[in-house]
């Protein structure tokens, strides 16, 4: 699904965000991406979601070389990635329903189809009753679940989450992680950037660690050690 080969990213200012990063993430895998802030987690996610381009090396998404994607094709590739942001990035001038419907509208689904898919996605995250609410009126955890519903509504094969539990208390965080596990169990590839080590320890998944731009892989046992 995702393959990084000797990837370097240097920003215009000269600081190296990623250096010589190599890793593979298979179809249907779930992995955590950890590291201190500034270690390059966000940069890595930005490269996958085509916001940044690598300086050197290759990033492949489903065998597509992301350095060579033309501007015109970027939107179509992004439609196959569900992105979840730490600060939800919801639009507060419309209802929960309309927020979740956005990817479907963009992709040009028919009206009836939009309705049933949005409700299915909201049902999955347990917010079916709040479809007519404005996101402002929801709690932080609920807003994050709206963000997740929006990310999965058009059934992308890959979910990327950037600190999805950053602002949530442990209990809510655990619920959110359970949601991601559910999606993973039906075949979605999931990659979650987080520095919530406590949470990762409770789950049994691959852990990719970035340290000052370099990647190493460790197991849950290493974290316990």
């Amino acid at each position: 699904m995702i393959r990084f080969q000797n990837l370097f990213k240097r920003y215009a200012g000269g600081q190296d965000a990623l250096s010589d990063v190599c890793f593979d993430l298979d179809f249907g895998e779930m992995a955590f991406l950890t590291g201190h802030s500034g270690a390059g987690k966000s940069t890595l996610l930005k490269i996958i979601s085509l916001i940044e381009k690598p300086t050197r090396g290759q990033a492949l998404l489903n065998n597509i070389n992301l350095s060579r994607v033309s501007k015109r094709r970027i939107p179509y590739i992004r439609r196959d990635i569900g992105i979840i942001f730490q600060d939800h990035q919801l639009l507060f001038d419309r209802t929960v329903f309309d927020n979740v419907a956005l990817p479907l509208i963009i992709a040009g689904y028919r009206h009836q189809e939009v309705g049933s898919r949005v409700r299915a996605a909201l049902d999955k995250v347990g917010l079916l009753k709040k479809e007519k609410h404005n996101p402002v009126t929801l709690s932080g955890g609920e807003q994050q679940r709206v963000g997740i519903a929006r990310a999965v509504v058009n059934k992308p094969p890959l979910l990327l989450a950037d600190e999805p539990t950053g602002n949530l208390d442990p209990e809510l965080s655990w619920e959110i992680m359970q949601l991601f596990e559910n999606f993973n169990q039906v075949g979605v590839t999931v990659m979650i950037a987080t520095h919530d080590i406590g949470l990762i320890k409770r789950m049994d998944h691959r852990i990719l660690t970035l340290t000052q731009g370099s990647m190493s892989e460790c197991t849950v046992e290493d974290l316990h050690a």
Partner: protein, 326 residues
Amino acid sequence: MNRLAGNGPQRGAADASRPASRLTAYFINHAQVFVSSLGKLYRAPLSNLMTVVVIGIALAFPMGMTVLLQNMQIVSGGWNGATQISLFTRLDVNDEQAAELGQRLRLMKEIESLHVLSRNEAMNEFRSLSGFGEALDVLEDNPLPAVLIIRPTPEFSTPDQVAILVEQLRDLPEIDIAQLDLQWVKRLYTMMEIGERGILVIAALLALAVLLTVGNTIRLDIQSRRDEIVIIKLIGATNAFIRRPFLYTGFWYGLLGGIISWIMIEISLGLLSGPVQQLAGLYGSSFVLSSMNMLNTLILFACSLLLGLLGSWIAVSRHLNEIEPA
């Protein structure tokens, strides 16, 4: 990129579906944005109304002037082609001789009609029109010559041919002066041409003003929706998708501006028509100020729509690229 068909999340929940075909999706989105962009204008009526009225005024001014000018052309159209040659006989030519000359000239193929004004008739006309009635009674002799008023046939009405005809008539022994009554028509036409040119210049400047107004309004709109644009870019919106609502907003500005300016022109012409009719009545004319014809209306709306779309297009293409991510 291959989707994991049938293996995604929410399997079983409404899965018989793919997005509509690219073309259908395109039309669905156009229809949605067509309506929603109008709704957006409706939700902020005051500021949008101001923009629309500015566009309306800017368009109404040159178009209103054009309609007035066209009316002037209709008025003067009665004289157009009415090239008229006045032949003043020498004073020693009496009325009978003048009438006989008239008979002869009528046979010329260049002449369509000819009217002989005898010396007495000329005197009477002058007396009644000039207001010198009593003063003229003092004169012993009639100082006015007979006049032959000639209208050339349309085939011989080009300036060159008329000039030749005038030369020919001037050489007649009975004729003192041959005068071509064309000069003032030419002057009027030249003035109207200047007017037309002036309106074009004003129209061009005001069109620029409309472009800037629409462009600036759309620019502010883009800036205030920057966050939204970033988000929908990240979830896979194409630039065309992002551009569309702004272009439709420009379209609505243009259309509504056109309607406003049409109303303004009609009201202004309505206000003018009374006094104009009075004035025409004073000249013994039954001229009625005509309002915009079909072509004017079409041009007005074509211009307003074009300017609305163009203004928003410029703003969108300039400012959308500044918003990251690509």
